[in-house]
Symmetry: C2
Subunit: 327 residues, 2 copies
């Protein structure tokens, strides 16, 4: 499967940004390790998602592209498919829940896609998508449970290990599991000694529970600020995670907020809550065992930076409150 | 003088970050040009200032370093001198006005420098600094009106033109004039066809007025959010600016806020108001003559990213208000 990541990389490299890898001396000193952030917040569309979108769309024949493709997404995948569709001359329809962030809806519209709103739960989304496919013969670009999407997502880790060698650990967040699946395939194939650790919010820990019980649980009413990680795993991503991922760590909402703030204040990077989750995982690991990370070389997939500026500050006010000594 | 920039670069290159150069497809499309941002917000200490601090301190003999150095600064230069002093084993005392941003005071203290507070106007600062020098024999590292500081600051532009060729224009903000002076020396020496344009807030336009009237005016009660640009030019920087800088553009407070927001939302970069001033200059130039920038290759020195998270939010609320149709 790792060869597929390499092929995806060759296929999309002229369409996506080769994102920078950033470090922080302060953070390295705090943790006693070397951390390398693969900054997909600087990716086109503001998140890693366009890697999968371009990889998927570049493999479609012209007849399908003319009839049109469809995607359902609360945000980043929507923008990514809309962007890739505009660039590759493909008619795109995106099903988005009513509560999706405004910044993500706005960008999707700007790229020229048709947005169809649906209810906020996964069943509504599925129903609307199925009905549009039935009526129009659209081709579905699944946000994670689809191999071309997964291979595309894995190209971020592929670029990371091509640039930074001898990584001991790579961390990525887990939502539907596309990013961690692609990441783990790339790492297993091209840097087999590197451990892959997935991180997810305690309040949306379907992957953790599914792997622990070896049974695919859906994510039910996930109450997390990490809007990109509210989705459930799919059959394909569950299987890949079980076979490739060393460990899944869960983190609290406060840890996610603190990590977001750290990245903002000390690294000068705008990151969305989902993107801050792996750093929260680092802080969590350090709390449990302060020596475990000592001297390690650690890669982090910083997944995206799409967040409304007003949402960002509402979240930070929350953090300040949660952090106050009276709380 | 350009040779001095090269020497400074060789002297400091193992102490400072080679900061990334970022681009934005969206912005390039909007402006019809190619913009290259030299991201000094990713520099050590969060701003370009440590280039000058390291360049200055690395040239001092051990006797002076033991007796101690002194700097006066509202912020970034303070942090930079404190950081370089810690690293080079130098005793540092920093005179800071009472109203300097908390984030900058905190970082200066963390680096181990002694902070001495003074009143908020330049005369208070000068008086306190003079008295400390007289009592302790400290060596002054001036924040801008001092050639080693200027040459150090110029290494950012030097790195920019070594990486990006054929730039038509380079823009930098003007406060005390250290950054624009160093930038213009580097450009004049190593990329003589490139124009250098300085940008400053309308509300702190001492450089614009000084150059226009060929007479050095002080900056009196500058009422700008760009806290790094409130200082007056010095004799040395005034002379360099007159001889090297093609043009000085002034921008409104609203334009600065809009540019900060653009850089945050679209480029995912945390930038302080002073750092957003050159982009505000681009928007201003485009308003005046929409064709002037067409097809140009433009370098921008993004000077720093040190801003309190709560200050940032307060500023953006102001922008939203100033921007409302009822205003």
């Amino acid at each position: 499967m790792a060869e597929e990541i390499k092929l995806a990389y060759e296929r999309i490299k002229n369409y996506v940004n080769k994102t920078p890898i950033m470090t922080s001396r302060t953070l390295n000193r705090m943790i006693g390790a070397k951390l390398f952030f693969k900054c997909e917040n600087f990716q086109r569309g503001g998140a890693f998602k366009c890697r999968g979108a371009f990889n998927s769309l570049l493999q479609l024949d012209s007849e399908i592209k003319e009839r049109g493709i469809i995607a359902h997404s609360s945000g980043n995948h929507a923008q990514a498919v809309a962007l890739a569709s505009r660039e590759l001359g493909c008619k795109a329809t995106i099903v988005m829940p009513k509560n999706a962030p405004q910044i993500k809806k706005g960008a999707t519209r700007e790229y020229g896609a048709t947005i169809v709103e649906c209810g906020n739960n996964p069943a509504d989304r599925q129903e609307m998508t199925d009905s549009l496919i039935e009526q129009n013969g659209f081709f579905l670009i699944h946000p994670y449970n689809y191999l071309p999407t997964i291979y595309g997502a894995g190209t971020a880790a592929y670029e990371l290990i091509n640039e930074i060698d001898n990584l001991d650990i790579v961390l990525a967040p887990i939502g539907g599991g596309g990013l961690i699946s692609g990441t783990s395939i790339a790492i297993k194939g091209f840097s087999p000694k590197t451990k892959v650790i997935g991180v997810e919010p305690k309040n949306a820990d379907d992957a953790f529970r599914s792997v622990t019980d070896n049974k695919l649980y859906p994510s039910i009413n996930p109450n997390t600020i990490a809007d990109g990680l509210r989705t459930s795993l799919g059959e394909i991503t569950f299987k890949i995670i079980k076979s490739n991922v060393t460990e899944i760590i869960t983190v609290s909402e406060l840890q996610i907020l603190k990590s977001m703030r750290f990245i903002w204040e000390r690294m000068k990077l705008v990151v969305e809550p989902s993107g801050a989750v792996p750093l929260a995982g680092i802080f969590e690991m350090r709390k449990d065992d302060s020596d475990y990370l000592e001297g390690k070389r650690i890669g982090i997939i910083l997944s995206g930076g799409n967040i409304d500026i007003t949402d960002f500050f509402t979240l930070l006010e929350k953090e300040i409150k949660m952090n106050s000594p009276n709380n």
